[in-house]
């Protein structure tokens, strides 16, 4: 590898053992990055098989049971093994200490433990998928999940273990941001990405244990026949749904808040401008993190809930939309009047904003209980959450990957290929999920292996979109690998950002900063310096 010879964290200290037992937050971030990319590939393969099997109404490709397993595996792998750790654990680990001028995270050994605990959990999940599979959907709804013959218990235990890893990561970020900031950096000087990771960490440490508990109960129920959610013993299946969504709704913000943090950074850097209304972005970040805990009931509007509760959960969900809208307005306000450099990271941000606005507005629509009755459990909901949570996380992740690629590797990728791939990913994504809004509105229920022939045309368009999306992702992987091997040197700060992480060499040395960092000016001080 051509990164040899530079005294960077890649080569120092040397050897495989030094990598696998590293306490360096940058290396742990890279271990996470490699791992989550592998799971992105795996989850993507599941998605492609699903889409290909839906090309014909009678599903010639897979039988109904395999179809159930495929969408379950797609969901479990994508949610818990890719999206949850994608930005926080991989890029957050790499960036947060650099952005606050720290030598490392507060607890480097716990950080390493969190990675290996994650790997352990992922192995258990994969074992469950291989040994019998899971057919409950990623939501593990009782009572079916406690009676199915598939490997629910093993999968639940695996996800529980990855949850422990999430909590350790969140704990580390909170302690790091509180205690490791460079002397002179106040809370209101924190880069917005760091704020986003802080909000995410609050959710990680407070919501994950409830999911862990719910999954342990379902796993134990499945293994030993507890009947805890079984109406035959007086149990209530809806209570499981409450426990599950108490985590899994905030989990949406675990995925989207870090992506929003990426967008804030990329917008400021490529507009060469201080973010408009920094305080509002911070308030909206923390607001989403907190109000996100009070909206879980909107997943159960048709599961039996009083009209008062439905109204409250609906209204609280719309409050999140207000915070989200504040963010979109501040981003556009930052870009307005800035001198924008058009490059791949900000192109992904444009896609993010497009998907986020449409996904968000359809979110307000499904939070309206009368409309939700019509759309519940249809492709409309599938399209909604793929737009906002998957599209948001994925474009945020790709924007981050391209923005910080020169920071991480010291190399520059091919901008032409990157723009081409960005176009394929963006168009592919919209093409995949826009037909699904229409399918759902026309009554196509989710999780069905077969469908009446009148839905076929839209399904074919969706599959074409998915193939384009997959192509874009493969091309991305290709040129990034080529760039690592043969890319031109990027220099320490190719985007001329004012943010702290760019003040160290790229790629950074093992100890992060050559000289002890000194806090002089903020991460967005463009105006005074006229960096543009």
């Amino acid at each position: 590898m051509s990164l040899r010879g530079i005294a960077s964290f890649w080569s120092q200290p040397h050897g495989l053992r030094a990598w696998l037992a590293t306490h360096d937050h940058k290396r742990i971030g890279m271990l996470y990055l490699g791992t989550v990319l592998a799971f992105l590939l795996l989850g993507g393969v599941f998605a492609l098989v699903l889409r290909l099997s839906l090309v014909s109404p009678d599903n010639a490709l897979v039988d109904a049971h395999s179809y159930d397993e495929l969408f379950t595996h797609h969901g479990i792998v994508m949610v818990w093994l890719f999206m949850i750790p994608s930005i926080p654990s991989a890029l957050g680990n790499f960036l947060v200490p650099l952005m606050i001028g720290a030598r490392d995270v507060a607890f480097p050994r716990i950080n390493l433990a969190s990675y290996w605990v994650f790997v352990l959990g992922a192995i258990v999940v994969l074992a469950a998928l291989i040994a019998g599979g899971v057919d409950t959907g990623w939501t593990f709804y009782a009572p079916y999940s406690t009676t199915t013959r598939t490997a629910t218990t093993l999968a639940a235990v695996g996800v529980f273990v990855t949850g422990v890893s999430s909590i350790l990561t969140g704990l580390n970020f909170i302690a790091t941001i509180h205690t490791m900031r460079v002397k002179g950096m106040r809370w209101r000087d924190l880069p917005l990405f760091v704020w986003a990771i802080y909000g995410t960490s609050i959710i990680l440490v407070l919501a994950t244990p409830v999911l862990g508990l719910a999954l342990l109960l379902v796993g134990a129920d499945h293994a030993w026949g507890l009947g805890l959610f079984d109406p035959a013993t007086g149990g209530d299946p809806v209570l499981f749904e409450h426990l599950f969504w108490f985590y899994s709704h905030p989990a949406v913000y675990i995925m989207i808040l870090p992506a929003m943090g990426v967008v804030s950074e990329v917008v400021a850097t490529f507009s060469h401008r201080r973010p408009s209304w920094y305080g509002a972005i911070v308030a909206a970040t923390i607001g989403i993190a907190l109000v996100g805990f009070l909206t879980w009931g909107h997943h159960m509007f048709v599961a039996g809930m009083s009209t008062f509760d439905v109204g409250m959960f609906g209204a609280l969900s719309m409050l999140v939309a207000i915070f989200s809208a504040i963010k979109v307005f501040t981003w556009t306000a930052t870009m307005y009047g800035g001198s924008i450099t058009i490059a791949t990271p900000i192109l992904y941000v444009f896609t993010f904003i497009f998907l986020f606005v449409f996904g968000g507005m359809s979110g307000v629509a499904v939070a309206t209980s009368s409309l939700d009755v019509h759309w519940h459990d249809t492709y409309f909901v599938v399209a909604h959450f793929h737009f906002i949570m998957v599209g948001g996380t994925m474009t945020g992740f790709l924007a981050a990957l391209h923005y910080w690629f020169p920071k991480i590797t010291g190399k520059m990728y091919s901008e032409a290929w990157a723009k081409l791939a960005c176009a394929a990913v963006s168009v592919g994504f919209v093409l995949t999920f826009t037909p699904q809004f229409l399918l759902g509105n026309a009554g196509m229920p989710r999780r069905y292996a077969t469908y009446p022939p009148q839905y076929q045309a839209l399904h074919i368009v969706s599959t074409v979109g998915a193939c384009l999306l997959a192509l874009g992702m493969l091309v991305t992987l290709g040129y990034l690998v080529v760039a690592v091997a043969r890319g031109r040197a990027a220099g320490p700060n190719p985007w001329r950002s004012r943010s702290f992480e760019w003040r160290s060499p790229s790629p950074p040395p093992p100890h992060n900063f050559d000289d002890p960092p000194v806090w002089t000016d903020g991460p967005y001080d463009y105006d005074e310096r006229g960096a543009a």
């Binding site: 507060a106 607890f107 909590i167 969140g170 704990l171 909170i174 302690a175 790091t176 509180h178 205690t179 490791m180 440490v205 407070l206 919501a207 994950t208 244990p209 409830v210 862990g212 508990l213 719910a214 109960l217 134990a220 129920d221 030993w224 026949g225 507890l226 009947g227 805890l228 079984d230 035959a232 013993t233 007086g234 149990g235 209530d236 209570l239 409450h242 426990l243 108490f246």
Partner: protein, 197 residues
């Protein structure tokens, strides 16, 4: 100073996270109790009252003992602190012993968690009560075991002089965790031994 702060933050986060772990079970208990009040009251009556009471005394005494150990360490009396910590471990083991005895009594009566429940039927929801009883006291017992291991660790450090007048953060934080485990029990006690209508 910075070092102190990050450890304090970490332990408080662990406690908050654990509190949410138990909160899910508390929510289940509250929901099911409101649906099956009679079965839950009968279930509480079936638990062995004196064990619940004595166990509460044991844990409260152990919380006092660990606070006493901090006081002794601050006063520069490591021997007294060691004895206090040994008392914490003895009281905790006593708690676990009584808990195991109660479980074995229940199991002998056919009172087991889940649909295998073969004890006296006290109406719909009886098996739910006992599933929660085993689940919640069991999860709590796991935390008692973890707490005792931590207490044993600080005991060794006090004996070796690694925890003394100036450096006693580890002891304080273990005590904080131990108080939390104790506080959880203070809620479990009425839920499984006292609220019988």
């Amino acid at each position: 100073m910075n070092d102190d702060r990050r450890y304090r933050i970490a332990v408080w986060i662990v406690i908050a996270s654990e509190a949410l772990l138990f909160a899910g079970l508390f929510a289940l208990y509250a929901s099911y109790r409101s649906e099956h009040a009679a079965a839950f009251e009968a279930g509480v009556r079936a638990d062995i009252q004196w064990i619940g009471g004595v166990n509460t005394l044991l844990l409260l005494a152990s919380s006092f003992a660990i606070a006493w150990a901090i006081h002794q360490v601050r006063g520069g009396r490591p021997r007294a602190a060691t004895w206090s910590l040994a008392a914490v471990i003895a009281l905790g083991l006593g708690f676990l012993g009584l808990k195991l005895f109660e479980w074995s009594e229940h199991i002998a009566d056919g009172i087991v968690p889940g649909i295998a429940y073969a004890g006296p039927d006290r109406g719909p929801g009886t098996s739910l009560f006992f599933t929660l009883y085993y689940g919640m006291t069991g999860l709590h017992a796991v935390h008692v075991v973890a707490g005792l291991l931590l207490v044993a660790w600080v005991l060794v450090r006090v004996r070796r002089g690694r925890i003394d007048r100036e450096r006693h953060l580890a002891l304080e934080l273990v005590a904080l965790y131990w108080h939390f485990v104790d506080a959880i029990w203070v809620f479990l006690w009425p839920m499984f031994y006292l609220m019988h209508g």
